[in-house]
């Protein structure tokens, strides 16, 4: 069993797509309040790892414990646990057929967590926090990429999650919009939210991360505090990777 402040425990996680082994045995623990930043070259399995945490990808083998419950167990109702794990996607994935407000209130209302008026009040407060309250009645197609991603973060937050998963949240954004999204994420981290962030933003990893994880070829090659990680990389592959991305 996990200790009190461990929120996610991953043991022996493997994932294969046909004959392609993407994850070859991941073991790690994520504690409450941690901001774990996962970096690595493309194809290293970092996104797959993140998507396995809420079983958007079905793990081939291994155990994922969330709040002390083995969510890879067949008998577990994964939907119940996903309510507590917010996810933010690279392509935002706002519901195109609903207004911004409805995007945010749809799940909490539909799942019976909140009444409609309560959910709308909560949504407006969250929108205000990211400076988008005047967009409540707009549709996703009327928003810029940065605005969409901020709404996507709010949509996940509206469920009052215990942990937030970010899958390359700034990779699809125009450069001038990256800042506004990172700013929201930074505030979120400062408020004590547990976060797992797959990203290429080294500045964010260094500044906001409490732990940085380097993945390559389907395994965790190195993990450390940001200071040690960037100043004193041990693994030759990590050194090679950092020399390419930190110019």
């Amino acid at each position: 069993m996990t200790t009190d402040n461990t929120i996610i425990k991953v043991s022996g996680l493997r994932k294969s797509f046909g004959s392609l082994d993407v994850l070859k045995g991941i073991d790690t623990e994520i504690k409450k309040g941690e901001v774990v930043v996962v970096i690595g070259p493309s194809g290293s399995g970092k996104s797959t790892f993140l998507r396995c945490l809420n079983r958007l990808e079905e793990p081939t083998d291994g155990i994922i414990e969330f709040d002390g419950v083995n969510i890879t167990d067949k008998k577990v109702n994964i939907n119940k646990h996903r309510e507590k794990m917010g996810m933010v996607f690279q392509q935002f994935n706002l519901f195109n057929n609903h207004t911004i407000l409805k995007n945010i209130t749809l799940a909490p209302v539909k799942l019976g967590l909140m009444k409609k008026d309560e959910a709308e009040k909560n949504a407006m407060e969250l929108l205000k926090r990211v400076g988008l309250e005047e967009k409540a009645k707009a549709y996703p197609s009327q928003l810029s990429g940065g605005q969409k991603q901020r709404v996507a973060i709010v949509r996940a937050l509206a469920m009052n999650p215990e942990v937030m998963l970010f899958d390359e949240p700034t990779s699809a954004l125009d450069p001038e919009m990256v800042g506004e999204v990172l700013e929201v994420m930074k505030e979120l981290a400062n408020s004590g939210m547990t976060m797992v962030v797959v990203t290429h933003e080294m500045g964010f990893a260094r500044e906001v991360g409490t732990r940085v994880v380097f993945m390559d070829e389907g395994v965790i090659m190195e993990e450390n505090s940001p200071e040690e990680f960037f100043a004193n990389p041990q693994n030759p592959r990590l050194r090679d990777f950092l020399s390419k991305v930190l110019i």
């Binding site: 809420n54 958007l56 079905e58 067949k74 939907n79 119940k80 646990h81 996903r82 309510e83 794990m85 917010g86 996810m87 996607f89 392509q91 935002f92 994935n93 706002l94 519901f95 195109n96 057929n97 609903h98 207004t99 749809l106 799940a107 539909k110 799942l111 549709y139 996703p140 197609s141 009327q142 996507a152 949509r155 996940a156 469920m159």
Partner: protein, 239 residues
């Protein structure tokens, strides 16, 4: 010339109150079309969901019972599509009337079932193409929030799919409306049959058949207009 037409018109439609045949036929046609459109949509959406659920998720469903049920449903759906799309609607209609539902009295009911079941096969493939046109991310976003497969389908995927395929669906319903003109094969007096009866009674073909053609045309134009209004409404979210 104009007087001749007028005389023929009076002879064909006014004498013996034959215009009433057209009116009755008109309502029969509308009735069959309406019922079979509704039945077609119901069957089509269900079959489309079964087929796309099987295609997307057969590999990831872990409950063995659920997996087996889905497999059987998918096989039934495929058989249905093959048989219905592989045989003419007139033959299906006659089989329904003379073989399968011999004991049913209501011809309108029999015809609506036959046309509805026929249309369902085409609607199924249209809706399925709509479901496949929706980005996978929409589905994942729904599931990541804790919505179930069904909730995500109903609230997120189907509405967007429906909007995307609306022009094609409208096309299918226009085809269906006109296809009901073969109802006469089971002696159901729809508008086409009514026109034909007038022709056989008066030995005048031009007037009744042109009248029938114009009525279909007006119906289709009216229906097309309705669909374009609906399309404009749904486009709200596209700005």
């Amino acid at each position: 010339m104009f007087n001749d037409l007028k005389e023929e018109f009076i002879f064909c439609f006014i004498e013996g109150d034959r215009w009433k045949w057209l009116v009755d036929g008109f309502f029969i046609t509308l009735q069959i079309t309406l019922y079979s459109v509704l039945l077609g949509i119901a069957i089509g959406v269900v079959v489309a969901i079964v087929r796309s659920t099987y295609d997307n998720n057969a590999g990831t469903i872990r409950n063995p019972v659920g997996k087996a049920v889905l497999k059987v449903l998918n096989a039934i759906s495929k058989l249905y599509l093959t048989v219905i799309r592989g045989t003419p609607v007139v033959v299906q209609l006659m089989l329904m009337y003379y073989v399968i539902l011999v004991s049913v009295d209501s011809k309108v009911l029999v015809a609506s079932l036959a046309f509805g079941i026929n249309s369902g096969a085409y609607v199924a493939e249209i809706v399925r193409s709509g479901i496949m046109s929706i980005d996978k991310g929409q589905f994942e976003a729904g599931r990541s929030l804790g919505l179930s497969y069904t909730q995500t389908m109903i609230k997120i995927i189907i509405p967007q799919a429906f909007k995307n395929v609306l022009p094609t669906l409208a096309n299918e319903f226009i085809v269906l409306l006109k296809e009901t003109s073969v109802s006469g094969y089971v002696a159901l007096e729809d508008i086409t049959k009514a026109g034909d009866l007038i022709r056989s009674r008066t030995y005048s073909a031009f007037m009744p058949l042109i009248a029938v053609a114009i009525i279909y045309l007006v119906l289709v134009v009216f229906f097309t207009k309705l669909v374009s209004i609906l399309e404009r409404r749904l486009r709200n979210s596209d700005h």
